[in-house]
Symmetry: C2
Subunit: 410 residues, 2 copies
């Protein structure tokens, strides 16, 4: 058989992590804190049905919805993105600089097509989003982790590493980060944009959770501080509209957008038209504000249930993040508890049947870092199930802890 391309080997490890991530979620009896889905009750099924009834007429947008479309995306969706989602954040852009993608993840793929040659360095947070790392690996980039704390990526360490590694790209998930829920501070956002300009490095700002805020003050995107066109802003409609629509968007200055459009054309021509029109109409008809309120209030309750339950049921000495929004919290267990090793039992033991994502997979260092951590998603699970699941998981963790203590003592 023809030999596979060398990138298939480079991505083998992270591809296995991704496959297992989603593989574990198939048993309906398992309470899964695994995937990144939102509450089913927030999926706007009825509204989308109404909209579809209207637009799928020959004298409205029916023919448009089923025909080939522009590579940049349907124009009124791009206009809506600008007026409703980007300008309110303090970022000025135009339709020419805004492209609609087949989901937020496609942004990472296209940015790699445009910028990454094998061996190029991408500076990432520690931990970072494993699915993006799978893409970076497919493009044979070298991912280097930058020190990260409760305010996000450390900018002094970023500057050090820019000088040391001469990276092609810096990858940030600055708000309610996947997997930690942490938010990059205002100071650091400004500094990230300055460093990018100063050292002439592209920043890929991946911000799909930013609009799901429960408390605290909204922060401008890094892009808002970008004076020289070094920041490319990527976002998704998966959380704020629906994951199944596979819609996202990219904002980039002209020189970069030209190349991104060519890469998009050579990936899948353009994004599906019907979902784009539905989404544009959803916003144009004024459905978003109420939908957004509901989204935030439903998930706030789930976040609260998650944090309270962790505090109540997890072993003493557990540290966890306090996300002001988004869908994830990150728990760091006492030393000795290995979340990678415990996962199979957690999801299959009839007394437990709870899934989480083991933390180790989110670190690019590859030295076992994070093997006492776990990402817990609260978006897709009702509050009472969150409590039940965390209690059962907590019991399991305490049993393991007991075993560990016994080994140490004997």
């Amino acid at each position: 058989m023809s030999k596979f391309a060398s990138r298939m080997k480079s991505m083998e490890k992270s591809a296995a992590v991704i496959r297992n991530l989603f593989g574990a979620m198939n048993d309906p009896e398992v309470i899964s804190f695994g995937g990144g889905a939102i509450a089913k009750e927030c999926l706007p099924v009825e509204t989308i049905r109404e909209i579809t009834q209207d637009i799928l007429q020959r004298d409205t947008r029916g023919v448009e919805a089923l025909s080939y479309g522009p590579v940049m995306g349907v124009r009124d969706l791009r206009e809506v993105v600008i007026s409703d989602l980007i300008e309110p954040k303090g970022v000025m852009t135009t339709v020419e600089n805004t492209m609609i993608l087949a989901g937020g993840l496609e942004a990472m793929n296209l940015m790699c097509q445009v910028f990454i040659d094998p061996g190029d360095v991408i500076l990432v947070e520690s931990p970072t989003f494993v699915h993006s790392v799978e893409i970076f690996d497919m493009f044979q980039a070298k991912c280097i982790a930058v020190e990260t704390d409760e305010n996000g990526m450390n900018m002094d360490d970023l500057e050090e590493k820019i000088k040391k590694y001469n990276p092609k790209m810096i990858y940030l998930i600055p708000t309610f980060q996947n997997p930690t829920g942490i938010t990059l501070s205002l100071e650091r956002r400004k500094r990230a944009a300055l460093l990018a300009s100063q050292y002439d490095v592209v920043v890929l700002e991946d911000d799909p959770y930013r609009d799901i805020r429960y408390n605290g003050v909204e922060l401008p995107p890094v892009k808002a501080f970008d004076a020289t066109g070094h920041v490319v802003m990527a976002n998704s409609f998966s959380k704020i509209f629906s994951p199944g629509s596979r819609l996202g968007y990219l904002v980039a200055d002209e020189t970069i957008m030209e190349k991104l459009a060519d890469a998009k054309s050579a990936t899948n021509s353009h994004t599906a038209i019907l979902p784009q029109i539905i989404c544009a109409e959803f916003f144009k008809r004024g459905h978003y504000p109420e939908h957004h309120r509901k989204l935030c209030s439903v998930h706030k309750v789930r976040r609260d249930a998650m944090l309270e339950s962790i505090d109540r049921y997890f072993p003493m000495g557990t540290k966890r993040t306090s996300p002001d929004g988004g869908l994830f919290t990150w728990a760091e267990l006492p030393q000795g508890l290995n979340t990678t090793k415990m996962l199979t039992e957690a999801s299959t033991n009839p007394e437990v049947k709870v899934a989480y994502v083991a933390g180790e997979g989110f670190f690019t260092q590859g030295n076992g870092k994070g093997n006492n951590c776990m990402r817990l998603s609260f978006g897709a699970v009702p509050p009472e199930k969150i409590r039940e699941g965390i209690e059962k998981l907590g019991n399991l963790l305490r049993q393991y802890e007991g075993k560990y203590s016994m080994k140490v003592g004997s």
Copy 2:
């Protein structure tokens, strides 16, 4: 600014061809024989609206349609593809070996991710589909043209070139080829599969037009003769369902499909769910047979109008293909008529205002081959407009011919 990846340079030329291909189609007064669209009246707007009304209910498929889905695609769409579109052609496969893509073009992108390292050789038809070449260029493959005649790719020359160039992949568009409308003979299909096995080279069989047949006998896909898993079959729902849905599929044996699934996951997670469910239901509810009949009868009339008009209005000595199906015919003009140079005038001169695709862009040889050829798409233009457009274009060509003769004589 961070340097662009080297693949951006490799794809520059074909990216420009693609941009111009679609750029020229914006003037509504131009009769465009450019793009590859189908007749608007064949877009099943009403049926899709009905289906969408049904499925977008919470107690039917509404939640599924808006949620994350499987990387391989919605299961019942894969089942429908197998039962309605693949098995009737003599190809046996399973859902595990069938993946739903975001459009047929994505197949070329994913196959390159899996197989192509920079410098790897892909053997292609001469001419071949320029949009696929853009993808091959983005992956920095070296495209080598194989001799092609009225029965498709020449298998003796294919074998010679396999031995000479040690290719990674052979790319075929075997039925009603884009751009020529030519069909690979039965003999050559069998031989292609044998050569692939014998020399251990993967064949990518791209067959989106095969079901739009007006006359003649249907031929089994190359995949039907594949005994060793070397043939990967790609197809699209763009012509037989709707282009705007961005749906396609790939059939590959297990070892290859594993890698394709990882590449898909690292491209955009999975294909949009709503279009997949609509398409599955379209077939399951029995709409396809009548839709298919209408598709063939409407486009047959257009094909006939195109061929008759070319014969009537184009310069003497013009050769053209006689496609038994599909959406394209290919005209080779008398020497001295340069279709690349004439295109601007053809599409902007008020007496003409007709667009076609200049033939040169479809050849990978890069030596001006095909500069007296043009691809003419008849799918999206009503018959009377086809006649009008070809007459006007024919007049222009004859004027150029006159000019040419005068230059030669003086």
